[in-house]
Amino acid sequence: MLRQRVLFLKENHVLRILKRFMMAGLFAIALLLILVHKIDLGVISGISKGVLFITAPIIHVASLPAQGMSYSYKKISEITNIYKENERLKKENEELFLLKDQIRAVKAENQLLKKMLHHLDVPNIKTKTARVIAETGNSFSNSFIIYLGKGAHKIKPGYGVVGPHGLIGRIDIVSGRYARVSTITDINSKIPVVSASSRDRGILTGTNSPELKLVFTPLLAELHKGDLLVTSGVGGGLPPDIPIARIKQITMDTITAVPLFNPSEIEIVKIIIYDAFPSDKELKDIE
């Protein structure tokens, strides 16, 4: 049977010229997109949001059986280790019981000192939990997609995302009930930090590898291997004192640190809804 002529493949001069320049044109568009993405125009984030809006629900539905299996496996392993876990918890409880009184005394002292110094606590912190539905982490990017559920409209790009051990990343794009999170190991990530012990400042940058680099530290900084790095709160993007990484190695040229989380173990995360600058209504309330 002879093939009939197809509507949109009708050969003419225009189509022939278009075909010839299609390759160059598409390359030019792709390169233009890279450049425009750097400038951060609304059009690009619109495209990204649109694609995320289509793909994220599909991944979410597809991940449900896997999540169910993972949950069952966890429950079975918990049941088999229940005796050991009970013994460990008993020991931990005894230690915590001893610490409780000390913490109460320190807390009371802390409140008294804060009152004396007219110290202002970090304002406007609220949290929201979310579930990880897809993850990426290779040489080119480190991010994951989370399901926000109800109340997704409260989440804005830039909000911090924390796990049980500390900061994991920041919200990159929010689309519908889903959001993409860029982890602190991503090459684009740059977070102002401070050493928890010496209070020396620096910028923690991602390298797309499991290690982070600490840059812009003072010349006479007293940093040591194993020091905990916490967010400094500088810039107002993140609240201060969230644990983020531990210093792994210090050489003449570079300071490397390792994050406190394991990417493959993240299932549930907490989003920190934090605005450094309070709204007009909140300002009135403070007054």
Binding site: R5, F8, I59, S63, A66, P263
Partner: protein
Amino acid sequence: MKSSIKNFLSETIVFFVPIIIILVLALLFYLPRSGSYWNFLHLAPFYIGIYFWQSQRADIFHLFSAFILGIFADVLEGVSLGINITTFLVLYLISVKYSTKFNVKRFSYSWLLFATAMLITLMFKALITSILYRQLIPLDFLGMEYLLTVALYPLLARIYILLERRYIHLEERYEKI
């Protein structure tokens, strides 16, 4: 006129079949799993899919298909929009060159050529990413991604062959109406 519309619809459906197959496979690779090695395979269905469909069914896989897949890959990966688009276009170009010069229908040739095409493609991607971020991409992880993607080629190519056989008669079916 009626048959022309049917033809147009059939061509359009056939155009989207490879794209949808690649996307579905890619989305399955994005599911969270234990083990960090999976992370290096997220883009494997895209790379293998573009190379496979271009070399085996160039009639239904166009340059524009690679462009569309690039947009999806960019957003899913969380990289700057355009990086994966450019990379996929490079891979498509290499695949076109190979198809004209070598017998890509033979599996052993096809696998070997894919290995060389991937090497060039990943090097190109590493180069533009490094330029964009003014920072060198970790090459050890790049090597890992390359090896795992090349190793996965026979399996994914087999899946694509099965799916192609399932849908290959789609065009004929519509033409007979």
